[in-house]
């Protein structure tokens, strides 16, 4: 037995009126015999029979308004029971379900249309009456949708929901993979900046560990804004959200970490990233180097006086002039006399390389951490040139604009703990160099001076210098002599003429 459903006779029609039946129950029909006439929104249409057989049942009456897809007639063998117990769709060439017309639509005819809403944002029902926002479902009926009449198709368990696409972004940031990938393969979500983003790359020649570069922090836009407003650096936070996502709470916790609270202290976890990670690595590496430290206290009155003189001089106008400048100059002069201080070890050839020039590293404290850019060929610079180079170097470092080249190839480093008000320290060497000089703060101390053959105690400006050196490359004598030379120049800058 075949059941014929009302087809869509003309491109998107939803219903038709049964105008007249041309057959009755019991009639024999052949394929293409006209069964009935219907009226649609467009026209009067005769419908031919898809089947041959006997009319078993006529399911709708003349004058009925019938939806497309409704069964209208059953045709088959006279012996069949005409009330639907037989399968409706045998698969021997009978028509498939009427497809033309409504595409996966639920029962289409329903009171529809919401009217106008005079104010955007407020909601009206289909008659223009304002709708109680607590009961929004009622008015949705106006759009032809009946609650309960539609449902979503069942999905399999664990149906993959697309995860955030951040993996692609990280692929494109890996620096140990070749950059030349076809553009189509990676959806670039970030503009690649020509200027460094503030995270410095490790100096070339340094082992970079496993070769991973730091991931940009993951945070949604609203979290970023909060971080920005609170002055929290996202790179210093470990996110507690999925995949390391930094949450709003993470930012708040980081920001309020310094505030006094009567809540119990919350452990803060700081991921090793960027500059901090580099410092960790270089310091660990320097454990392999046998380091000895010597120190000396110097009366730097002469230096202080010299600085006052320099500041008045025209060629130093606009430049920052500090004890560090004199120390830097003194170190370069002293290196000329004690060249092993400015050396490195070529492990492959087992040779000590005494460097031809001084690439003077200045350890700088920045918001991102400790970095050591160096001034190339500082030994060849006059005092003014050196002052300029120092100023520039310090500014670039503070702004995070130092280039990778600036960190490469240092030969000697000065670290200034004096800016923190610290007397002295035992500095740790920059790997690849032979020595590092630590300069303390200039303090007023009681000092024994000789006046007219008489010893007296006077307040003097005193500074402590400490030199840590690689005892494989520099022996105690060399180290001490170097330190003494620097001290001599600081005590009496005129002695620089001897160097």
């Amino acid at each position: 037995m075949y059941e014929f459903k009302l087809p869509d006779p003309g491109e998107g029609l939803l219903e038709a009126e049964i105008v007249s039946w041309k057959v009755a129950v019991g009639d024999k029909v052949e394929v293409n015999d006209i069964l009935l006439e219907i009226e649609t929104a467009k026209s009067l249409v005769e419908l031919p029979s898809p089947y041959g057989g006997t009319v078993l049942a006529v399911l709708v009456g003349e004058g009925d308004l019938v939806d497309v897809g409704t069964p209208i007639i059953r045709i088959g063998d006279p012996s069949e029971v005409p009330d639907g117990t037989t399968a409706t769709m045998p698969d021997d060439g009978t028509p498939s379900a009427a497809v033309s017309g409504a595409v996966s639509e639920p029962s289409p005819v329903s009171p529809a249309s919401a009217a106008e809403a005079p104010v955007s944002g407020s909601v009206q029902d289909s008659r223009g009456e304002p709708v109680d926002p607590e009961a929004p479902m009622a008015m949705l009926v106006g759009y032809g949708a009946k609650p309960g009449a539609v449902a979503r198709r069942a999905r399999k368990r664990g149906a993959a929901m697309a995860t955030p696409e951040t993996d692609q972004v990280h692929e494109s940031y890996d620096t140990d993979r070749p950059v030349s990938r076809p553009i189509d393969d990676v959806a670039p979500l970030h503009r690649v900046e020509a200027a460094p983003s503030g995270e410095t790359l490790p100096p070339p020649g340094q082992p970079t560990g496993a070769g991973e570069s730091p991931r940009p922090p993951l945070a949604k836009p609203p979290v970023r804004r909060v971080a920005r407003d609170l002055g929290v650096d996202l790179t210093t936070i470990t996110g507690t959200g999925p995949g390391g996502l930094i949450t709003h709470e993470d930012v708040i916790a980081a920001a309020s970490g310094a505030r006094l609270d009567d809540r119990p202290g919350v452990d803060q976890r700081v991921a090793l990233r960027g500059v901090r990670r580099e410092m960790f690595k270089t310091m660990t590496a320097s454990l392999n180097v046998p380091q000895a430290t010597a120190w000396v206290e110097v009366d730097v009155t002469g230096t202080v006086d010299l600085l006052a003189t320099l500041r008045d001089r025209r060629e130093f106008h606009g430049l920052r002039v500090s004890p560090l400048l004199i120390v830097a100059k003194a170190a370069c002069l002293a290196i000329a006399r004690n060249p092993e201080i400015n050396s490195s070890f070529d492990e492959a050839r087992e040779e000590i390389v005494i460097r031809g020039d001084v690439n003077l590293g200045i350890a700088a404290a920045t918001p991102r951490g400790l970095i050591v850019p160096n001034i190339k060929r500082a030994n060849r610079m006059g005092l003014r040139e050196l002052a300029e180079a120092l100023n520039q170097m310090v500014d670039l470092a503070k702004q995070g604009k130092a280039q990778p080249a600036d960190f490469a190839n240092g030969s000697f480093t000065i670290t200034n703990v004096g800016v923190f008000g610290i007397d002295a320290g035992t500095p740790i060497m920059n790997p690849g160099e032979a020595a590092i000089l630590c300069v303390g703060t200039v303090v007023r101390r009681p000092w024994v001076v000789t006046r007219d053959g008489e010893e007296q105690v006077e307040p003097c400006s005193v500074c402590t210098l400490a030199l840590t050196f690689d005892h494989r490359l520099v022996d105690g004598e060399t180290g001490s002599k170097f330190l003494a030379d620097v001290a001599a120049i600081l005590a009496d800058p005129g002695l620089a003429l001897l160097f």
Binding site: E11, A112, A115, S120, G121, P133, M137, G142, A145, R152
Partner: protein, 324 residues
Amino acid sequence: MATMTMVKALNAGLRRALAADPKVLLAGEDIGNLGGVFRVTEGLKAEFGGDRVIDTPLAESGIVGTSLGMALGGYRPVVEIQFDGFVFPATNQILTQVARLYHRSHGRLNVPMVIRLPFGGGIGAIEHHSESPEAYFAHTPGLKVVSCSTPSDAYWMIQQAIASPDPVVFFEPKRRYHERGEVDLDATPMPLHQARVVKQGKDATVLCWGAMVRPCVEAAIVAAEEGKDLEVIDLRTISPLDDDTILTSVAKTGRAVVVHEAMGTAGIGAEIAARIQERCFYALQAPVLRVTGYDMPCPPNRAEADFLPDLDRVLDAVDRSLAY
């Protein structure tokens, strides 16, 4: 208050416009004697005469071009393009002339013309009869682009479009032509270029127009059963977009899903997503997602159900958005 199909609503709106202003005229293929292949203009020639309801030769470019001339001659033509896919012979006239005359003339010549296009799929049609070409026109300065989703909007928006001093491309979702709705024939309509919040919600904003409004509303109903509170906005105006309504909503919900039948690449959804991320960046909890036709010409219509966005695809996107 009357209940009528969208076809009848358009018919009533056109009738009212023709009656109110003797300068309004209709031009198109088969619109007079036949009343249009969808019967939108049924009875209008009998009532207003063949000079005002014009059966034209079979030439879309000719229809639009000559209607432009009539507009400059003081008339207000309403052009019917028989199917979306047949607007392309007319695009030269639309893009180079209709859209530009106001600009070219230093603001002296305006073109109060409406170009009506039945658009979209879902009716089991052959090639060229299921297109969604809104983006080509939205990309063209000088044209306004709108789309009704209900009989009530159809009734009012067609009159407003005819009254507009600017040329309006008027998209009618043919899939909804025969669906009924209530029309208040005496109401004060909302402005033409304003979006409507169909349903308020707080979890995500769903943006749609034309035939897609209904599946989005149905998706919101199902989502509510799952405890998700969607806000559904019928954009109504594609060019200009109602930025206020869109951005206010997304700033509130933090999530947006745009739904349109047209291909995703370079579609209207892309423009909406760009604006949202530019102006609601810090409110966004998830990227703006788009549920669209795939980037291919419309497939054979028996594969259409997979191609066109439907309730399941809308909810899939909502779920993905909420997963961020």
